[in-house]
Structures are given as C-alpha cells and as structure tokens.
C-alpha cells in the first residue's frame, strides 16, 4: 500500500468545482452499476493515451476499488467516483457510504485469503499507487493512480 498522500478526496470543495479534466459519477452502490463504472474508467484511461494493456488494468483496478470500497454496502449506499487525468496520469478516487462497519466480509476463500485481500492484490499489481481506508464507521474511501 502506498504512503503517498491521498489525492483530493471525493466531496472536497475542489472536487466539487469539477475541473475540465475530470469525470464525476454518482450511482447506487449496486453490482449492476459496475459495468458503468468500468466503462467510464476505460474512457478516461483512453484520454491519457494508455495502451491496451494499461487500459485493461485500469478497468479491472477501478472495478476492484469500487468493490472493495462498497463491500458491506447498506441500503441506500451511494458510490461516488471522481476520475482526473493530467499529463499521462490518471487518478481515481472512490467513496462509498453507508457501509457496514465490518466491511461485510463473505468469509475466507479456500486459498486462505479473504475477498478484500484478493481485490487488493489485484489493485496493487495493476496500478502505481493506491489506498483504501475507512473515514468513519460507515464510509469507506479509496484511491488509485496509474501513469503511462
């Protein structure tokens, strides 16, 4: 996990100003929305001229970020996604609320790691930096960064 500072978070005043090189998406945190999340992420990745493999990486990493942030989503949970691009670098921040305090783990997978660990293993391998953290008992935030 990265020790670099968290980029401007979803919900900050700066994010609310919606700069030119930015896409914001708000959607119910439900699985059927993830294809939309992937489509938006793929489009943004194409805008910074990532190659095909990098674009696929971003598509999967953002899907996993959204999944990890919204695990244990409670009724009415909303996913907020902000994608920024600048000079060949894509930064994605994700916020999900409300989520259960325990993250709603589904138990351990047969190989000995939990669902969150599998998600994080994928994200870690595919992007340059990332972080997933709890803001409070009911809000989870994550971000990732990928450069050309």
């Amino acid at each position: 996990m990265s020790s670099r500072p968290l980029p401007d978070a979803v919900g900050d005043e700066e994010a609310a100003s919606a700069p030119d090189d930015c896409i914001e998406l708000r959607a119910p945190a439900r699985p059927e929305m993830w294809s939309l999340v992937r489509m938006v992420a793929s489009h943004a990745a194409s805008l910074v001229n990532l190659d095909f493999e990098q674009l696929s990486d971003v598509r999967l990493a953002v899907d996993e970020l959204a999944t990890a942030c919204s695990r244990g989503a409670l009724p009415g949970c909303e996913l907020q996604l902000v994608i920024r691009w600048e000079e060949g670098t894509l930064t994605v921040t994700c916020l999900a609320s409300p989520v259960g305090a325990d993250g709603g783990h589904d138990g351990e997978l047969p190989l000995g790691f939990g669902p969150d660990e599998l998600s994080e293993r994928i994200i870690e391998a595919l992007v340059d930096d990332y972080e997933i953290s709890s803001l409070d008992g009911s809000t989870r935030r994550g971000w990732l960064r990928k450069s050309r």
């Binding site: 294809s35 493999e53 996993e64 999944t67 669902p115």
Partner: protein, 113 residues
C-alpha cells in the same frame, strides 16, 4: 457487443465443458457459480472455457477457486480452464492463480484424452 454473462454446459465423453461468454463480475458471478454447482460431483472432468470472457474480477476468481477446492485441490486436470485472452491470463497471473489451476491455451488441448 452483448457483455451479459452466458454459461452453456455441454456434456461430452471426457466430462463437462462450460462455455462461458461475457463479463464475470460481482453482479454476474452467481450465474457461473450456479452452473458449476449443477455439475455432478462424479463428472470425470470439468473444463471451464473462458475464451469468450471479456472481463473477470476477484468475485469471479473466487467462484473458480471455490470449484477448484470442491474438485479436490490438485493440479491434475480434473478441473481446468481454457484461457486465450491476455487480459484474463493477466488477472490469473497477478493473483498467483496460474500456479494453482491447470490452464490450457485452447479447448482442443483441454479436451484431448
């Protein structure tokens, strides 16, 4: 392109072949899981053909790992995957699962006696 997940089960001389097409994600993985759970436990082989899968996330991987566990957790080809797309192979590689599953480059190779 229609990315809705489709799973067709074919019973062959060598066992069960699952032809999977579309995106396997948190919304659709249950379809794959249900198809795998419907295969008789005494089926000689289970071949999951992922050639037409355009997306596979950790939830889908969890389903495959669960079936691998159910099939006896060994690297013998009783349970095996057919992977042709680089983006699917990549997710298996970054999770270390290429050393767990028996993976073939084509369906023909997987079903050869």
């Amino acid at each position: 392109m229609d990315d809705a997940l489709q799973v067709q089960v074919e019973e062959t001389d060598i066992g069960s072949v699952l032809h999977v097409a579309g995106e396997v994600d948190v919304a659709s993985a249950a379809i794959l899981r249900d198809a795998l759970e419907g295969i008789p436990a005494d089926s000689r082989r289970v071949v999951v053909d992922l050639s037409e899968v355009s997306f596979l996330d950790s939830t889908g991987l969890g389903v495959l790992v669960g079936e691998w566990k159910r099939s006896g957790e060994d690297t013998s080809p009783r349970f095996c995957l057919v992977v042709t797309r680089p983006e699917i192979r990549r997710v298996l590689e970054v999770t270390g699962l290429t050393s767990v599953f028996s993976i073939f480059d084509s369906l023909q190779e997987a079903i050869e006696p």
